[in-house]
């Protein structure tokens, strides 16, 4: 009180409390953060550097610049086709998942049904089995019976089936937070149920639809097992499966091709995230609320 400019006595207690100790602690904290960041950034750096490197290794290093890898990839018969194939599977599944889950979630949110929540949880639980390894044999047999082996439709249907429960779960939450008075108001003005859906419900839950769409595309884009098993001809294989074939004759992974292809493979998903996030804004607040 009497000398407000003097350092407070408490500051001089112990070695860690002085200005030097504070500095050391600060440096330590930053070092820790830098290490953690480096740990996560290194693979990204490798992904950014290796495709342009003449002799890529498993370490991230400044590349000896070349575009050779891209040239080789362009001439690989399956590489470019596989990206198109991935796109077909991803977009097809996304359309089905968004459309079907929107209808189901709307109905489940609006209709009083006994055991509704139990049903949803059971579906959610089972869905991880449907697309998991456990059910692969019956799914393959089923697809064979239905003539859906080696067809995009078969893969799309299986993937859609696996993703629907989670999509319904997410969208139902969005639907639940949409006041019923919006729909009732439109109904009083004479709008038909489909009209209410189109004019009111869909625009209001659009962020939810966008979320589910993006999530579906990302899931399908990264799925390896199902297209690997169900698509027999190499020219139909999506990117995730084709990447698996980039080995040298000696059985060594062809790092140049793999890294280049990985970069091309991840770009569309990143771009889509950026676009959708700018357009609609993701609305995840502690869970799956709008």
């Amino acid at each position: 009180m009497s000398a407000p400019t003097a350092p407070r006595p408490a500051d001089d207690h112990g070695p860690g409390r002085g200005p030097v100790g504070q500095l050391l602690r600060g440096v330590g904290a930053y070092l820790l953060v830098a290490l953690a960041l480096g740990f996560f950034a290194l693979p990204m750096l490798w992904l950014a550097a290796a495709p342009f490197d003449r002799h890529p290794g498993v370490t991230a290093s400044l590349p000896e610049f070349t575009l050779d890898s891209f040239r080789r990839l362009w001439h690989n018969p399956n590489a470019v086709d596989s990206l198109a194939s991935s796109l077909v599977l991803a977009v097809g599944s996304a359309v089905l998942v968004v459309g079907l889950s929107a209808l189901a979630a709307y109905a489940l949110s609006r209709v009083r049904l006994r055991g509704r929540d139990g049903l949803l949880y059971a579906l959610l639980l089972l869905s991880s089995i449907v697309t998991g390894t456990a059910a692969m044999v019956p799914i393959f047999l089923l697809a064979a019976e239905l003539n859906l082996v080696d067809s995009y439709l078969g893969v799309i249907l299986v993937l859609t089936g696996g993703l629907l429960p989670a999509a319904i779960f997410i969208l139902k939450d969005f639907m639940d937070t949409t006041p019923r008075s919006y729909e009732e108001s439109a109904r009083v003005f004479g709008a038909s149920p489909l009209r209410v859906m189109k004019d009111v419900v869909v625009p209001v839950v659009r962020p939810g639809l966008a979320t589910v769409g993006v999530w579906t595309v990302a899931q399908v884009w990264g799925n390896f097992l199902i297209p690997f098993l169900l698509l027999r001809s190499p020219d139909k294989s999506p990117a995730a499966v084709v990447m698996y074939t980039f080995y040298t004759e000696g059985g060594q992974p062809d790092l140049a091709l793999i890294s280049t292809f990985s970069l091309l493979y991840s770009l569309p998903v990143v771009l889509m995230f950026l676009f959708v996030s700018r357009r609609y804004g993701f609305r995840f607040h502690g869970g799956i609320k709008a």
Binding site: S181, E184, S185, A186, V188, F189, G190, R195, V204
Partner: protein
Amino acid sequence: MADITLNWLAKVYPGGVRALGGVDLTVRDGEFFALLGPSGCGKSTLLRTIAGLEAATGGSVHIGGRDVTALPPGDRGIAMVFQDYALFPHMTVTENIAYPLKIKKVGRAERTAKARETAEELGLGHLGERRPGQLSGGQQQRAALARAMACHPGVFLLDEPLSNLDARMRLEARTFLKKLQRELGVTTVFVTHDQAEALALADRVAVMEGGELRQVGTPTEVFRRPAGTFVASFIGSTPMNLLEARVTDGGRAVLVAGRELPVPEHAASLVAEGEKLVYGIRPEYLRWSDEAVGAALEGTVSVVENLGSAQLVTLECADGTTSVQVVVPEDHEPAVGTRGWAVPRGERALLYRDGSLVTAAPAPAAQVPA
């Protein structure tokens, strides 16, 4: 323009919950009509059944002479304003107001012009391009009203139109709403749990309890002559005093808290000596006196509540169990602990037998402006 007739309208929810137990009601053309009651009394269900959002399980609804009981909401010639206004958040104010016209397949240019004009009438002209989220509560309410007006319905249905506004805005909006209804002359039914709102706005009020109408009448009628003790205790900003009474003096007086009070004239020949009744008198209809008066309730002042321009004084009567509330004008403030007398205005006192009013007189003159 249209009148509304409800015949024995009933609504039982699946599971057996009876929300409406046979409601008979006629709302006249151009009338401003209030459905009033505590929460859970069925007033909102009644409004929603008129709108067609709930299907009636019995009886019929006629709007403008047409049986609409089985028609969907859109074909009933009504417009509804919801408690939360239900403005679509993804549309601008103009688009919101134009939406009903869009459904009715009015061309874009025409409906936009119509929406702008309606918005202008309600003082929203400069807000047309805003989204509902950017409007204040009062502006949202006006936008919702404009949307309802734009399609020229025969009937307006308003669900708790003022309850989402703060106290100050509410009074302003109340005056605005009443003026608007007068100007448009559209039959309007609104739901409220606030008796002051119902009395202030409506031409006639229906008081509901347990899915049934307890009384239908002008604000004056339901305030001065409640048909039952439920209505008596529900209506009025200070609740009516309802006191145990016994008829004495050959049917000319009632004994209330040990004091003899005259039987009101309109009930004079209808009571029998020794009968137990409930004596009802509003705090506003009791006159305060510091000196002993003959036909008056007597007691000690226990609480004085300031109402602004008056005080609400609670008297503990001599029998120790009865307490009476009296409104005392502002120029006189009785101190707590002093003795006082409350003199009923004889013609305003009411007697209730088994919860319903004992009276021979016709209802007081309706004060409905022509």
